[in-house]
Structures are given as structure tokens and as C-alpha cells.
């Protein structure tokens, strides 16, 4: 029963492999119900790719699978993939997988007359039906060419087999060894026309990188680039460069760099969350100290920080930072700070990238520090590192992780030149540099660029003290920027002037106070005089009122006495009458 190869829209149906990154570059996995050829030289990871395709299919997508091993025995196979966490014995018990080891020993087999590979068909058919398999792996079927002599017949049979598998509707992965001038030794690519994947294992300058390329994928778009991939304890990981686009969201939130003055230089409150910060400078300019402040500030906010150190060990960083007053150990103890120290040469670029991505994915930190990113130059060309950084920056931005990349600039190059030309990737670029003046070497810092912020254009002098980093306003005099003792002298001079001015102001203030006091006294005297005058006026008025009243009373008294007299006279007269 042939599986439907296309859906109603005529689009090719795909079977997800579950292999990290691979489904992205193929936009959905392998062609469903069709054979795919996976080829590559010995040790490039063909078997693992095929096995992961089966295991993930069985465990994640509910598609049981049959693994036909032509090279390794069932026991060896189970052992080899056990380190990746695949328990084949358990999968077989749960009827999610069948493994058939096809033994081909030429010395044991004689041929007489015509034959075919019907035995293989019958075995495969039996196993597929037993567990209702949807996926099949043939690893490495070309081995039969070494066991049987009739090559023409075998080719015919293989063609028939691939056709039969297609009819069965099982998604098949066929592995093949890389041949001279062709993809596989026996030219299997001629028969498997739907999808061909090439695995490569290259060593450049003693560092090996695995790469994967989709050579052909009929009827669908796919990424055509060579993509690096790795095999580690979690299996196969393809690292697509281009599948991650510039689609990350942005945050308006600012986070502190841990140096208050630097935050102010960046427009008030630090860098945007999720942005990438480049800190470059020559050696000994305090880059790691700034990084440590950044880490410290992150942990202080209760957020997680991963510090990828390529130069110093964890113990060394902790010790050194204690000398400038930063206790990183407390954050390590609480688990907020993870210092991952490794030598760049330890493994290839891709492995570094994958390790970082995996750690970031697992820990989910708020900030990440890479110190210094330029050390990776030891293991890759500038182009490779550039590509790697793009992926790392994209990955971090996608996860809203604020990143601080430290870049070491060699003294003979322009300060604005970064070793791996990554400046354009960065949102904020801080530059620390030496300022040599008056026989002194001092540190200056400025913000070269900071996207979307109103940042300072000034060069600040920065000091590393036992209390941490301090940024000072650099003195800008007629001879340019003054730093170090020149600045101190200038500052002393200024301070003296300020003192003089202050004393003068105090004197004047005193005089004003005196004058004010005397005026106030005068005002008081006048007020007293005024009060006296007012009281006198009142007294006079009172007196006048009293006089008037007395006069009135007198008048009244006189009037009454007159009346009395008249009455008396009248009574006298009446008496007389």
C-alpha cells in the first residue's frame, strides 16, 4: 500500500527526524515514505544519523523503525549508541524498534546459478509488519557487494528494494560509503533520487569540523549550504547558520553594567536587555575587570550569568576580582554565576559554539560573557569565527540574553579594528585604551557606539581600585585630555581655586548678614518710635473724649439743678399762696 506522497496542496510530505537543526535546514525533515541516501567517508557519523532518525522517530513521533545493520552486530550497535542515551534493548522490548544484523561473509557463501535478494525482502517485510514500522534504515547496504559477486544482479536487486520500500510507504535512510569521484562506492545515488545528504569530516589546521550538506532534495526547497554539525553526548546536532533570521524581539528594558558611571555614559541606565556588547582594548586595560563587574551586577539582580573564560581558570578569576573588591565566589556558591573555563584549542569552533548554546539553553542565563572572544582565533580562520559569532549572537538575541564579548586588540593595530571583524554585529561597543602622557600609562574608556541610546561622547579615565572600577571625568584642558597625575594636579589646582572662591563667598555672605542685621535694628527702633507716637495720639484722643464727657456731665448737672431751683421757687410761691 503506497503511502500518500503528497498532500492536497501537492506539497511533499516530510518526516521529522528529531535531529536538532536538521529539520530546520530541510524545512521539515526527510521525504516521507521515500528513501534518502546518507553518504560520507568512514567515521563521519552516518550510522549515528540513521540511528538517531530511528530512535527519535520511535520515541518522539510514534513511528517505530527497523534498523538493518550490515556492518555492526546488534550488540555492538546497542553498545555504541548507549553512550548517547539510546536504549535499544528497551526500544526493542517495547516493540518500537527491530534490529536485524545481516551477516555477509564471502568466505562462507558459494554461488551456483541464479539467485536474488528475496531473503532480505522477506526479513525486512517480516520486521516491518511485526511492529508496524514507518521508518527503515539500511546501514550500510553496499556491504553486500563485497559479499556477493554478481554486481549487476545486486544493482538490480537494490533498485527493486528501494522501489519496494517506496511502495511500502516507509521513510528509509540508506547509508553509503563515500567513493572516488562519486558519492558512494557503488553509485547508489543513481537509484535514490529523492534525497541525498552528504556528511563530511574535515581537518583544517589540526582542528576537525564535521559538516553536512543536502546535495539534493527533489521537490522541495532546502538549505544548500554546508552546515557544521556535531556529535556529542546528546547525539547529532546540526548548526544552521541561516535558519535563524533577524527576527528576534527587542526589549526596552535597560540593565546595569555594574559600573554606575558607565551606565550614565550609556545614556543613563546601562545597556538594553538582550543586546550584544563588545568590549575591546589592548591587554592590561581592565577588560576582565569590567566583565566581572557586569557579572556581579547580573547576580546582584538575582539573575543568572554564564562567564565563558578562555584565558583564566575559575579560581584565578575569583582571586583576581577579589583584589578589586568583587566577591564572585558568593555568586558561584548560590549558583547564579557559572564560570566555564576552557582552552580554545580544547575542541573545534563548532564544538565551542554548541557547548555554549547548549549551556545557555540549559541554564537560561540573563547575561553571558565571553572573555576573550579573540582567543578563538587560535582555532579557526577569521571567517569561521565570524560565522560562529553571528550564530552565537543570533542565538543569544533570540533568547533575550545580554552578551558581553571581550576582544583583545593587539597594540600595533588600530584600536577600532577588531580581530574578527565583529563590530557590526554588536549593539554597543566600549573601547578601553591606554593614554600615555607625562611618563604615565593611564586607562581611558569611551563608548564607540551604542545603538538606540543617547550615549556620552567623552573619554573617561577609569581607575581600578580596591573597591572596584571608578570612572572619572577626564580633565579637558587646552593641551587635551589630562589623565593620571596631570589630572590630579589640575584637580588640586581647581580645588584650591574653588576653596578661595568659597572663602570669598563666605566673607561676602557674612557682610550681607551684618548689614541685614543693622538694618533690622534700625527697623526695630523706628517701629518703637512709631509705636510711641501712636500711643501718644491715643492718649490725647482719650483725654479729649473725657473732657467732652465731663462738660456734658457738667451741663446736665447744671440743668438739673436749675430745674430743682425753679421747682423750689414754685413751691415756695405755692406755699405762700
Amino acid at each position: 500500500m503506497p503511502a500518500p506522497e503528497t498532500d492536497s496542496l501537492g506539497k511533499l510530505e516530510k518526516a521529522l527526524t528529531g535531529i536538532e537543526g536538521f529539520d530546520e535546514i530541510t524545512l521539515g525533515g526527510l521525504p516521507q515514505g521515500r528513501p534518502t541516501l546518507v553518504c560520507g567517508s568512514a567515521g563521519c557519523g552516518k550510522t549515528l544519523f540513521a540511528m538517531e532518525f530511528l530512535v527519535r522517530g520511535a520515541t518522539q513521533f510514534g513511528e517505530p523503525g527497523v534498523f538493518v545493520a550490515f556492518e555492526e552486530s546488534t550488540v555492538d550497535l546497542a553498545k555504541n549508541v548507549a553512550s548517547l542515551g539510546f536504549d535499544l534493548v528497551d526500544l526493542q522490548k517495547r516493540n518500537l524498534m527491530r534490529i536485524d544484523h545481516v551477516v555477509i561473509d564471502r568466505s562462507e557463501i558459494e554461488e551456483s546459478g541464479e539467485y536474488d535478494l528475496e531473503g532480505l525482502f522477506i526479513r525486512l517485510n517480516h520486521l516491518i509488519n511485526q511492529i508496524g514500522a514507518k521508518r527503515v534504515v539500511l546501514d550500510t547496504i553496499e556491504t553486500i557487494f563485497s559479499g556477493l559477486s554478481n554486481a549487476a544482479l545486486l544493482r538490480n536487486e537494490l533498485q527493486r528494494l528501494f522501489h519496494w520500500l517506496k511502495e511500502k510507504g516507509v521513510t528509509t535512510v540508506i547509508t553509503g560509503e563515500r567513493g572516488d569521484g562519486q558519492l558512494t562506492r557503488q553509485g547508489l545515488e543513481e537509484y535514490v533520487s529523492d534525497c541525498v545528504i552528504l556528511l563530511d569530516h574535515r581537518v583544517v589546521e589540526q582542528v576537525s569540523t564535521r559538516r553536512i550538506r543536502v546535495v539534493k532534495y527533489r521537490g522541495t526547497v532546502h538549505g544548500t549550504n554546508e552546515y557544521p554539525f556535531l556529535i556529542d553526548e546528546d547525539g547529532f546536532t546540526v548548526l544552521p547558520v541561516t535558519s535563524i533570521g533577524l527576527q528576534h524581539g527587542v526589549s526596552n528594558e535597560r540593565i546595569s553594567t555594574g559600573v554606575a558611571e558607565l551606565d550614565r555614559m550609556l545614556g543613563g541606565s546601562g545597556v538594553y536587555r538582550g543586546s550584544s556588547v563588545l568590549l575591546s582594548g589592548t591587554s592590561g586595560t581592565g577588560k576582565s575587570s569590567i566583565s566581572a563587574h557586569f557579572a556581579d551586577a547580573t547576580c546582584r539582580r538575582g539573575e543568572k550569568c554564564i562567564y565563558f573564560a578562555f584565558e583564566e581558570s575559575q579560581a584565578q578569576i575569583v582571586r583576581n576580582m577579589r583584589s578589586i573588591g568583587l566577591d564572585l565566589q558568593q555568586w558561584i556558591d548560590t549558583g547564579l554565576l557559572i564560570i566555564k573555563a576552557s582552552r580554545p584549542m580544547h575542541f573545534g569552533l563548532e564544538m565551542h559554539l554548541a557547548t555554549m548554546q547548549k549551556m545557555v539553553g540549559a541554564v537560561k542565563p540573563a547575561t553571558v560573557i565571553v572573555d576573550p572572544v579573540t582567543n578563538l582565533g587560535a582555532i579557526g580562520t577569521s571567517g569561521d569565527i565570524g560565522a560562529m559569532l553571528i550564530r552565537l549572537v543570533d542565538y543569544l538575541k533570540l533568547n533575550s540574553v545580554t552578551a558581553l564579548f571581550v576582544s583583545l586588540t593587539s597594540g600595533d593595530k588600530a584600536q577600532e579594528h577588531t580581530e574578527v571583524a565583529m563590530s557590526s554585529l554588536m549593539d554597543t561597543w566600549l573601547l578601553v585604551r591606554d593614554i600615555e602622557l607625562n611618563g604615565e600609562r593611564n586607562r581611558g574608556m569611551y563608548v564607540l557606539k551604542s545603538r538606540g541610546t543617547n550615549h556620552s561622547n567623552q573619554i573617561r579615565e577609569f581607575l581600578i581600585t580596591s573597591q572596584g572600577i571608578e570612572l572619572r571625568d577626564a580633565y579637558l584642558g587646552p593641551e587635551g585630555v589630562l589623565t593620571g597625575s596631570a589630572r590630579v594636579a589640575q584637580e588640586a589646582k581647581e580645588q584650591h581655586q574653588v576653596e578661595l572662591a568659597r572663602q570669598e563667598a563666605e566673607r561676602r555672605n557674612l557682610a550681607i548678614q551684618n548689614k541685614k542685621r543693622s538694618l533690622e535694628a534700625q527697623i526695630a527702633a523706628l517701629q518703637a518710635e512709631l509705636d510711641a507716637e501712636a500711643r501718644e495720639g491715643e492718649a490725647i484722643e482719650h483725654q479729649t473724649k473725657n473732657q467732652f464727657r465731663r462738660l456734658e456731665l457738667d451741663r446736665e448737672a447744671m440743668a438739673s439743678s436749675r430745674t430743682k431751683e425753679r421747682t423750689a421757687i414754685r413751691s415756695d410761691t405755692a406755699d405762700k399762696q
Binding site: 545481516v102 557463501i109 551456483s112 546459478g113 541464479e114 536474488d116 531473503g119 522477506i122
Partner: protein
């Protein structure tokens, strides 16, 4: 059967198993060819079993059958495996280490 306890070439006993896929022309040809060889060269000192692996696929897996038809000689030891329709009598005799009857007598 434990091959060590079985009869050896000298005792003249042959245990043969022919694995075929149903009634295909190759299966039929192989059976006919084998029958002929056995009757000619192993008269009375062989046992022959024919297994149709389309009916017993698990035997195909167990016996590592890849190509069909396959003839397996279990006894005498060591085991011998021969694939094909056995049309090449000479090769078949050689592979099965069957001494032609005229020499055996």
C-alpha cells in the same frame, strides 16, 4: 543439532536444508536441481528439508538468509552455504564437498 556429535564426511551422512521463496521459478529450479544431485550422488545417505521462508520469515532471520534460494549443509560440519538455483552442478558439488558417486564407489 550439535554439529560436533553429527556424522562426518566419512560416515557419508548429509543433512541439507533448502530455503526457498514460495513457488518462484528459481525455487522450483533449485529444488529440481538439488533433487537430481542428491539422487545421483547421495543416494540413501542424505536428508533434505525444504523451507519456504515466505511462510517462516523468522527462520530467514535466524539462519541469516539473504539471497534465495539458499542451500545449507549442516552436516557434515563445518556448515556450508550455497546460494543460487544450483544449475551449475559442478559448483554445487564442489561447494557441498560432495564426492561424485562414481569416485565414492
Amino acid at each position: 543439532m550439535n554439529p560436533l556429535s553429527g556424522p562426518n564426511v566419512e560416515s557419508g551422512e548429509y543433512t541439507l536444508t533448502l530455503y526457498v521463496a514460495g513457488q518462484s521459478p528459481k525455487s522450483l529450479a533449485a529444488f529440481a536441481n538439488l533433487k537430481k544431485i542428491c539422487e545421483e550422488h547421495l543416494e540413501g545417505r542424505y536428508s533434505l528439508e525444504v523451507i519456504d521462508v515466505t511462510k517462516h520469515p523468522e527462520i530467514a532471520i535466524e539462519q541469516q538468509i539473504l539471497a534465495l534460494p539458499t542451500l545449507i549443509r549442516k552436516v557434515p560440519t563445518p556448515m556450508r552455504k550455497l546460494i543460487g538455483d544450483l544449475s551449475n552442478t559442478e559448483k554445487t558439488l564442489l561447494a557441498m564437498q560432495i564426492t561424485p558417486a562414481d569416485h565414492a564407489e
